[in-house]
């Protein structure tokens, strides 16, 4: 048995026969004294054919790995028709009177060198994309078809794998792949991750391994060639466990969030950007329980405009098609800083100028966000919640500002829907006076991360305090229970949107307390759903 270390793209296991994928060597023959007219014509035809192929690949990739990851083929198409690239090919054909193949090869090499000599890892890696495009043109010019047939399920090994090759491989027969070149940032790596294929890069592959049994351990980044029976058994078990778990969870994709005794729980997803909505929909969450609006502020150099915000909120509301979307207003400060807010240095940022405190002292920023939210509410079901509340007056003031915004919209004849107003319960103060706060709002959402850190007075960023940071601390759970009770007494619904909401060891306890909604990161939706469906509250 041989064990070779590489870098794992995905922490999964694959076991199977190795197949050495050899690219047909590109032999470029320089044909002198060619007719430029004919060669230019051949080149144009090849570009058109390549564009067609790339369009097809783009569509295939869209279906299999999503639009964002398919974009690499759009980029290839643009490289193909890039004016500098074209100018170079045309110049060589006309100036040197050579065949199109040769002109493409020289041009491709030059552009590859341009990228591979760049310092930045990202730009360096683009040389592979240029090569992919040039190889495609060259292959078409020499009249060859693309061949990517795998005859049986294999672990593919190759010196290097282009993004287009990765997408074209038959996923049913591709157990995993191992390459010598390629970085964890390459498009191929990204595609492998999205397609959920176990893969290693940086492994010095050898042609003589072709046909041998092998195993990829994605957890340790090791390729075992001719693994001994013990290693194999161990890895196969690892693999079987993971697969079984995944399969069982995926079966829950479209199932209802109902306990064994028939109580329906609202299982929602947390999102931090528009892209996350896809996962929420994929696992069929009933809504979005926490839309962190911060990214709109953190990605910018200046305050996002009402229009920019409106467009994003509207898009999310429309994508969720009537399911509830709870937008948390600006929660900046502490560990989330945007320079243009000029918040200044604070001794104690966690106890500092942040979230609702900024909103109430800079009402114009707050009202801009509220206006965008209200306008978007005409396109779906939107709720809004205010973070970091500690006192009743803060909620009253925030509600006044919301009322002002509604009044202004009305007087301008701008439509908006009915928007439920809620608050985050994340300070011990808010939890303790939750009976009073409940009279002011429609719902509570418990932010457990901050609630734990403030209740236990333990900074969660401080590694030395790890043993003191106890999310299951009785003080925290009692506060949560009290919040649920006082919320329900006043007719407020109560949800949990912090990390504790995804802690399946506590799901039953929360449901027994009467928690109406759990909102978790999309990656945990299925696990929590499984737990809900296995809970009997009788």
């Amino acid at each position: 048995m041989e064990g070779i270390k590489g870098k794992a793209i995905l922490g999964r296991v694959a076991v199977g026969k190795l197949f050495y994928y050899k690219k047909e060597k590109r032999q470029v023959r320089r044909v002198g004294d060619a007719d430029p007219g004919t060669e230019l014509h051949r080149y144009e035809d090849a570009v058109r054919a390549a564009e067609q192929e790339l369009l097809g690949l783009y569509e295939k990739a869209c279906r299999e790995v999503g639009e964002v990851n398919a974009a690499v083929f759009e980029v290839h198409r643009m490289m193909l028709t890039d004016e500098d690239y074209r100018d170079s090919v045309v110049n060589i054909i006309e100036g040197q009177r050579v065949n199109a193949e040769y002109a493409v090869a020289v041009t491709g090499d030059n552009f590859q060198k341009l990228f591979s000599s760049m310092e930045d890892e990202y730009f360096k890696a683009r040389a592979a994309d240029v090569k992919d495009v040039s190889d495609r043109l060259h292959r078409i010019l020499s009249g060859q078809e693309e061949s990517h047939g795998l005859l049986e399920p294999v672990i593919l090994m190759a010196k290097d794998l282009a993004p287009s090759e990765t997408v074209q491989l038959d996923k049913k027969k591709l157990l995993g792949f191992v390459t010598e070149q390629g970085s964890l940032n390459s498009h191929t790596a990204i595609l492998a991750r999205t397609m959920n294929i176990p893969a290693l890069v940086g492994v010095p592959v050898r042609e003589e391994w072709d046909g041998h049994m092998a195993a990829i351990d994605g957890e340790t980044g090791t390729l075992y060639v001719d693994p001994d029976p013990e290693t194999l058994a161990l890895l196969e078990e690892k693999q079987a466990c993971a697969e079984e778990k995944r399969r069982l969870l995926l079966e829950l994709k479209d199932k209802d969030d109902v306990t064994l005794d028939g109580k329906r729980i609202k299982l929602y997803g947390n999102i931090g950007s528009v892209a996350d909505v896809a996962a929420v929909l994929r696992y069929n969450a009933a809504g979005i329980g926490l839309f962190r609006s911060e990214f709109l502020y953190l990605e910018k150099n200046t305050y996002p405009t009402e229009e920019e915000q409106f467009a994003v909120y509207k898009q999310v509301a429309e994508m969720m098609a009537g399911r509830e979307v709870i937008i948390r207003t600006l929660d900046i400060g502490a560990d989330k800083q945007a320079e243009y807010f000029a918040l200044g240095h604070e001794e104690n940022p966690a106890l500092g100028y942040r979230a609702i405190r900024i909103c109430l002292t800079k009402p114009e920023i707050f009202k801009t966000q509220l206006r965008a939210i209200y306008r978007a509410s005409a396109f779906g079901t939107i709720s809004v919640m205010f973070p970091m509340v500690a006192s009743v007056w803060e909620v009253k003031r925030a509600k006044e500002l919301a009322a002002e915004v509604r009044g202004e919209l009305e007087s301008h004849g701008i439509p908006f829907g009915s928007v439920s107003l809620g608050i985050m319960i994340e300070t011990p103060a808010a939890a303790v006076i939750s009976d009073r706060l409940a009279r002011e709002v429609d719902f509570f959402s418990i932010g457990t991360n901050d609630l734990i850190q403030y209740t236990l007075a333990v900074d969660r960023q401080n590694e030395r305090l790890e043993e003191f940071y106890d999310p299951h601390h009785e003080a925290v759970l009692r506060l949560i229970e009290y919040v649920v009770r006082s919320g329900h007494t006043a007719g407020c619904s109560v949800g949990i949107c912090g990390e504790l909401g995804a802690d399946t060891a506590l799901t039953e306890r929360f449901l027994r307390m009467g928690v109406d909604e759990l909102s978790v990161s999309p990656a945990f939706l299925l696990e929590v759903r499984e737990r809900i469906r296995g809970t009997d509250l009788r």
Binding site: V72, D82, M118, Y122, E308
Partner: protein, 87 residues
């Protein structure tokens, strides 16, 4: 003729990477004006994908975008919006 120009500091984590560079090239072609991107000493036509990528513009780098032509006003406006939203 006056040249419209604006400065912009890249906030995208990678920089002007392939996808937005492609979209930028597409957008630029909607205008008749000549649009250029200057980063330090280097300059490239915004409509040329490879040339823009070869500038290797990274996060935090300041660039100057100029538009020159009959629709330079609108071009500069739309491009600035594009940079703010995408980069």
């Amino acid at each position: 003729m006056l040249v419209k120009e604006f400065r912009y500091t890249i906030t995208d984590k990678i920089g002007i990477h392939a996808r937005p560079a492609g979209e930028l090239a597409k957008l630029t072609k909607e205008f008749q004006s000549r649009v250029k991107i200057r980063a330090g000493e280097k300059e490239a036509a915004a409509g040329r994908l490879m040339a823009v990528m070869a500038l290797g513009i990274r996060n935090g780098q300041e660039i100057v975008v100029t538009a020159e032509g009959p629709d330079e006003e609108r071009a500069a406006e739309r491009l600035e919006e594009f940079f703010r939203n995408n980069l």
